[in-house]
Every structure is written in C-alpha cells, then in structure tokens.
Amino acid sequence: MNEILNFIHDNIQMIYIVILMVFVGIEIISHVPAVLHTPLMSGANAIHGVVIIGAILVMLHMDPTNKPGLAIGFVAVVLGTLNVVGGFVVTDRMLDMFKTKK
C-alpha cells in the first residue's frame, strides 16, 4: 500500500499528464469523419512506434560486453523502426490518394 502511495507521490506530474492526454486523445478523435478512420488508425499506429526510444535507451545503457543483450536490443530497435517508418510511410501513401480531391 505504501509503495503505491509513494509511486503516486513520485509520479504525480506524469499521472496528471496521463489523465490530460487521455482526454486530448478522445477529443481529437471524436470528430473525425469515417472516411479517415483507416489512415487515422495507421497514423496512430506509427505514433506508438515512439516505443523505439525505449529500445534505444536500452542499447545505450547496455553493458558493451553483454553480447546477447546487445543482440536483443538490436532486434528491438529494428522492430521499433519498422513500426515507425512503415507506419508513417503507409499512412502517407494512403493520404496521398486524397490529395487530388478538392
């Protein structure tokens, strides 16, 4: 119990951010026309690729002699990049098709 209270105390700013971001997310999605649902899902999919930062941090903190650790970190960065780059490029490709419309 104490642990939980401590956690809340230590991270109170982040908890505020979480709550506010939840509402931001709800607010900006709520008025989107169905037309854009697929690109939106795809764009959101690219954004959660931000998890790649975690993978890079792992690599930066990794003991350089820990070969298996570096290997797993390497894979994580590759997969994270796939998520980011693939996500943004495929969203752009979808949206490119809307361009000629007025």
């Binding site: 971001m21 854009l36 998890v51 990049t81 998520n83 693939g86 943004f88 098709m97 000629t100 419309k101």
Partner: protein, 465 residues
C-alpha cells in the same frame, strides 16, 4: 543546457504527435499532420541517440552506435520497402503487422530491463505491465495479420476457450503481481511471464471471427500505445508517455466507434457471441428461393435507363482491384445523365474507411461518397443499386431475423431500391459466414464473376449503347 535541449525536443515531439493526430482528422490537413508527427518522432529519436548519453554521462563505445544505426537502417529499408510496395487491399494486414512490431519492441524492452530493476517495485511494475501488454499486442497482431492475409481463414476455438482465456488472463495478472511484490530475481520468471502473455495473445485473437478483425486491430493498436506509455513511466520519458497515452485513448475511441457501427459490444467481440450466433445460423434452414442471374448486357441496360444509381462497394471490390473500372463506369453513367453516388458502410471492407481509401485511389470524387446514415433514406427512390463485392453490410437479416448473428447491425437498406444488381464471384456467404436473403429477392439480379472482369464487360456494353 543539454538537459533542456532534450526536454525541448521531447516537447516538440509531443506537440507533433498531438497536432499531427488532430490534423489527421480532416482530409485537407491529414497528410501534413502525418508529416508533423513523423518530424516529432525523428526529433525524439535523434535527441535520444545524440543528447541523452551526454546527460546520463554514458560513454558509448563506437560499435554500440554502429549497431543502433545499422538497426535503424535495416528497419527503415524494410519498413519503407513494404509500405511502398504493398497493394492497397493489403493495408489492414499491414497496419496489424506494424502494430505487432511495436508490441514486440515493448516486450523486448521489458525482457532486457528486468535484471536492472530487481528490487525496485514501481519500476518493476511498469516493466511487467509493458511486457505483458506488448507481448499480447505482438502475438495478437500477428494472428490478426495471418487471418486477414488469408493464412488463417477459420476462427479456431478450443473447447471452453472463454473460460480458458479468462483463467489464463487471471494467471498472468497474479503472476505479474507476484513478480513485482516478491521482488523475484530469477530471469526465468520474466521469460515464463513473456511466454504466457504470448500464448494469451494467440488465444485471445484466434477465436475471433474475421468480420470482427478491424475491431481487434484497433484494440491491439491502443494496447501497444499503452505498452509504450508504460515505457514512458519506466524511463521518465515524456515523448513515450504522451505518444503512448494519446494512441491508447485515441485507439480506444476508434474501437468503440467501430463496434458501434457494427452494433456489437466489445465484450461480444472478445467473448465470441458472434460464434454462438453462427452456430444458430448453421442450424437454421437454408433460405429457399430462386436467384436470378443477369449478364453484363442486362446489367448495362438496367444502369443505362436509370435516373439514379447507388453503388455499394465491399471487400470484393478491393480483392479484384476493380476500383478504377468502377470509377470508369460511374463517369460513363454520369455522362449519360445518371445521378451516381457511392454508399459507404462504416465497416465495409476490412477496416473503417477502407472503401474510401480504395475509391480515392481511383480518383473518385470525394463528394460522391455518402455515409450510411445519410444515404439510407435515398434507397426507396433509387432505380438501381449496384452492389460490388459487399455482402454482410447489405444483408436484410440484420433487420428481419432475430436469430441472425448480425441481427441489429445497421445496414445499407438496398432492398428498398427498385432494382438491385449484385456482383459476386459466387454464392459463397460473406465474411460473417451467413446466407443473404437479398440474393433471393425478386428485385435482385446476380451478376456473377470477378468484379474487375464483370464490370469491364458492363462498361463495354454501356459504351456500345
């Protein structure tokens, strides 16, 4: 100084994500919005690689940097290549695939951070949560990807899968809490938890029918967002936190919007009420009646002498890549003075907006695409409805048959039109696996064949008139 610079970069990234996602909500700004998000992401990544080590006073050996850059290069080349090459019809599977990659990244982070944080309960709880959710998202997305790409067509249901899945979920939660609370230091535990979460992800998506796949992908999308946010807590990283939570909440809203469009509850999707419904459908008597087959010339005549035509596109259009010839048909009819519109069901295709993307590719005028709610009252004064590869979204059973698994789902009320032409490859039921009485309607003519070749023939006939 450097700390502030990194903070600013992460702040810019967060703003990029929020503004970008907001701009994705309007067709005019969407492309720019996506670009802004991408810039934000690039800033965050570059800042992490170049500035973070200075702040944390880390000396990074050259080969570690080389590894990171090589990994990013490989990921970029492969990701860019797949995203550029894949056909528009494969888009939903692709989103699922990339989503799985993000989940896997979150899971791997958890596996590696475990031993550095033993005894640190709050960090460990973030690691465990990120690992579990990331693994479920990864495994589930891969199954969804396999299903959508046709590698796994039938829902697989283990006996009592609902109870089994629920028990497994409870086991994972208890096990996760135990790892945190007991300050476990044996990596074997975290690998076991990882394995359990992977198994759960597979079992979670396996029984879910293909028709519900968009909902599942959207749900897993928000899961990965959540996993990224736990990473944000773990590293005190604002870019990860804001990006993750934003996607988590946006993805949840999108999921809810989709289930609403299908008139299903999320619990029904997950716990498989659909499956039980399908059993009823199998035991029900087959619809009796005759179907009327029409050739391309019959279809062309019907369309040629109509005043008002509504086209209902579905997944069959995407599979046949017939969007260009359909657009040609629409322009041809418009030239002849026929009022032509497209009726877009929210869940036509394999993802919401799938049809819009597909038709946009063929340069169909944006204003001709009409949403279900706006067009349903136009069907009674429509001369001809042309259904191209759509099935469940026009099935009157959703209105008439309380036993039908899709009963209550909002549909396009095409049966109210004066004439209906249905283009399908065969009489095979649609994705929900149920019969469609619309095909037996006396007003309906069936135009069998692949959408592309059938429509090409209709276009030729029309040109000769």
């Amino acid at each position: 100084m450097e700390t502030a610079l990194l903070d600013i970069l992460y702040l810019l990234a967060s703003i990029g994500f929020i503004v970008g996602l907001k701009m994705l909500g309007s067709p005019k700004t969407a492309r720019k919005g996506n670009f802004y998000s991408a810039i934000g992401m690039t800033l965050a990544i570059l800042g992490t690689i170049f500035i973070y080590p200075k702040i944390a006073h880390l000396t990074i050996p050259g080969f570690v940097y080389a590894l990171i850059f090589t990994a990013i290069l490989i990921g970029t080349v492969i990701g860019w290549g797949i995203a550029k090459r894949v056909e528009m019809t494969k888009m939903p599977e692709l989103v699922s695939f990339f989503n799985g990659m993000g989940g896997a990244t979150a899971a791997l982070i958890g596996l590696m951070e475990f031993e550095h944080n033993i005894g640190h309960a709050s960090k460990m709880s973030m690691i465990v949560a990120g690992l579990v959710i990331g693994s479920i998202s990864f495994a589930g997305s891969m199954i969804a990807w396999a299903k959508l790409s046709g590698k796994l067509r039938k829902p697989v249901r283990l006996p009592q899968y609902n109870i089994l899945n629920t028990l497994l979920a409870i086991l994972i939660i208890i096990f996760g809490i135990y790892i945190v609370a007991a300050q476990v230091n044996n990596p074997l535990y975290i690998y076991s938890l990882f394995a359990l979460a992977i198994i759960y992800g597979v079992l979670f998506v396996l029984p879910i029918g293909g028709a519900d796949m968009p909902v599942v992908i959207s749900l897993l999308n928000s899961f990965t967002g959540l996993a990224a946010a736990f990473g944000g807590f773990l590293y005190d990283n604002m870019a990860m936190l804001t990006g993750g939570i934003l996607v988590g909440s946006a993805g949840t809203i999108l999921t809810v919007a989709m289930t609403k469009a299908m008139n299903r509850s999320l619990t029904a999707v997950i716990f498989g009420a659909f499956g039980e419904g399908s059993k009823n459908a199998d035991s029900r008597e087959k619809i009796k009646g005759n179907i009327k087959e029409a050739g391309p010339s019959d279809a062309a005549i019907l369309l040629n002498y109509a005043n008002k035509v509504i086209i209902v596109p579905g997944y069959g259009l995407a599979v046949a890549q017939a969007q260009h010839v359909l657009h040609e048909l629409e322009e041809l009819l418009a030239k002849k003075g026929v009022d032509v519109k497209y009726a877009i069901h929210p869940v036509a295709g394999r993802m919401p907006g799938h049809m819009n993307v597909l038709l946009a590719e063929a340069n169909v005028d944006y204003d001709k695409l009409v949403d279900m709610d706006d067009i349903n009252n136009e069907f009674p004064n429509t001369d001809v409805v042309l259904v191209v590869g759509a099935n469940d979204v026009v099935n009157p059973a959703a209105h008439n048959d309380p036993n039908s698994p899709i009963y209550g789902m909002p549909i396009l009320e095409v049966d109210k039109a004066k004439n209906i032409i249905v283009n399908k490859r065969s009489m095979k039921p649609g994705y929900a696996g149920i019969e469609n009485e619309l095909f037996y309607n006396p007003k309906t003519s069936m135009l069998f064949g692949d959408a592309k070749s059938a429509l090409t023939k209709v276009v030729q006939e029309l040109k000769n008139m």
